[in-house]
């Protein structure tokens, strides 16, 4: 085998591995998204900010089930505050659906609430 051919083969292999592993060479961070802010401080919410970030969908699911199917329309927080189980309650502090859309569009998870519900 000629040396020229060897250079071609090994050079090509090196280029191939460079291209394949290129993405892992990059150092950096995930794109930052602007976190939406509620009109009032997070102490007003039914649970802590961390809890709501992780579990807001479960809370909404539970509200929907208990209010529609059991007629239990009032949510009582552990410290005794009462809220009406309604998206209206959320939007009183969180403004509009823009609050939801900010993160949801980034995560590519489309909530279909607003096909029927209105933001008031």
């Amino acid at each position: 085998m000629k040396i020229k051919e060897q250079i071609l083969i090994f050079g090509g292999l090196a280029l191939f591995f460079f291209v394949v592993t290129y993405a892992f060479w990059q150092e950096g961070e995930a794109k930052k998204i602007r976190t939406p802010v509620a009109k009032s401080s997070s102490e007003h919410c039914i649970e802590s900010r961390e809890y709501m970030r992780e579990n807001h969908m479960l809370v909404l699911d539970d509200w929907r089930k208990s209010s529609v199917r059991k007629g239990d329309r009032i949510h009582v927080t552990p410290d005794g505050r009462e809220f009406e189980k309604s998206l209206k309650t959320c939007f009183e502090c969180h403004g509009s659906r823009g609050f939801c859309v900010n993160c949801h569009s980034y995560a590519s998870a489309r909530p279909n609430c607003f096909g029927c519900h209105q933001e008031m």
Partner: protein
């Protein structure tokens, strides 16, 4: 030896068959097939059963105030094409509302009047039995037959099951067909069935249903049918009333004074 074994199996088999036959006779309620088809109208007054009495003598011809109020409150769309029509409460002639009732020698006035029709919130609702996702259900605490639109998959079994045509399917996106959207109540989406909910959202605020509150003639009365001292029961006691297609055994909670 072989002969004996065959005989034994044959006799055992016959014995089991005979036993099953006897058991089905003795325990006729506990096992095997049971059919639910009661048409008797026994009075079992358990809990609250919300209902309505419509005094059709007071209902003015041409007046649509109750219909307008209902459709405005609940964001009911208005489509020109009758195939797309969404109905919560509407008016129809006698022969359509009471198809089983005799029309022989009926007064012209009664025959030509139009009658208010809405979901009957049946005590034994066939739509609830037909719904495969339990999107339509009867509320245990007040007897209202209502819908969880989140669960509706748009199969329209309930529409086939309802003998009163009280359910409508959203063939089109309803939002563009709503004149003025009431922000306090959600709209529906294309692909779900909808119907009258006896204004359960107003009841939870202590208000009367929109049609009842809006009627200028006081023709509609709303209340608990299981409470012997309620206004509706007074009307039922003192007037002869009709239920729509009572022969089907659905036990409608809407009564008509003709």
């Amino acid at each position: 030896m072989n002969e004996n074994r065959r005989e034994f199996i044959r006799k055992t088999g016959l014995g089991v068959l005979a036993g099953l036959g006897v058991a089905s006779g003795i325990f006729h309620k506990s096992s095997f097939e049971t059919v639910l088809a009661s048409t008797e109208h026994e009075d079992e007054a358990k809990g609250t059963r919300l209902g309505m009495v419509i005094d059709t003598r007071k209902c003015k011809e041409g007046c649509t105030k109750c219909i307008d109020a209902c459709h405005e409150v609940h964001n009911v769309p208005q489509f020109d094409n009758s195939k797309d029509e969404i109905k919560w409460i509407w008016k129809d002639p006698y022969k359509n509302v009471f198809p089983g009732e005799s029309e022989q020698f009926l007064s012209e006035e009664t025959k030509n009047r139009s009658y208010l029709a809405l979901c009957n919130h049946c005590d034994k609702p066939p739509c609830v039995r037909a719904c495969p996702t339990k999107a339509t259900f009867k509320r245990g605490w007040d007897g209202i037959v209502t819908m969880d639109y989140h669960r509706c998959i748009g199969c329209r079994f309930c529409m086939a099951a309802c003998p009163y045509g009280a359910r409508s399917f959203n063939w089109r996106d309803p939002r563009p067909a709503i004149d003025k959207i009431n922000q306090a109540y959600p709209t529906r989406e294309r692909g779900v069935v909808e119907k009258c909910n006896f204004c359960s959202e107003r009841l939870s605020q202590g208000l009367k249903p929109a049609c009842v509150a809006e009627c200028p003639e006081g023709a509609l009365t709303f209340g608990d049918l299981n409470d012997p001292h309620s206004e509706v029961r007074d009307l039922l006691k003192n007037n002869h009333t009709l239920q729509r297609k009572s022969e089907l055994g659905t036990r409608p909670s809407v009564f008509y004074i003709i």
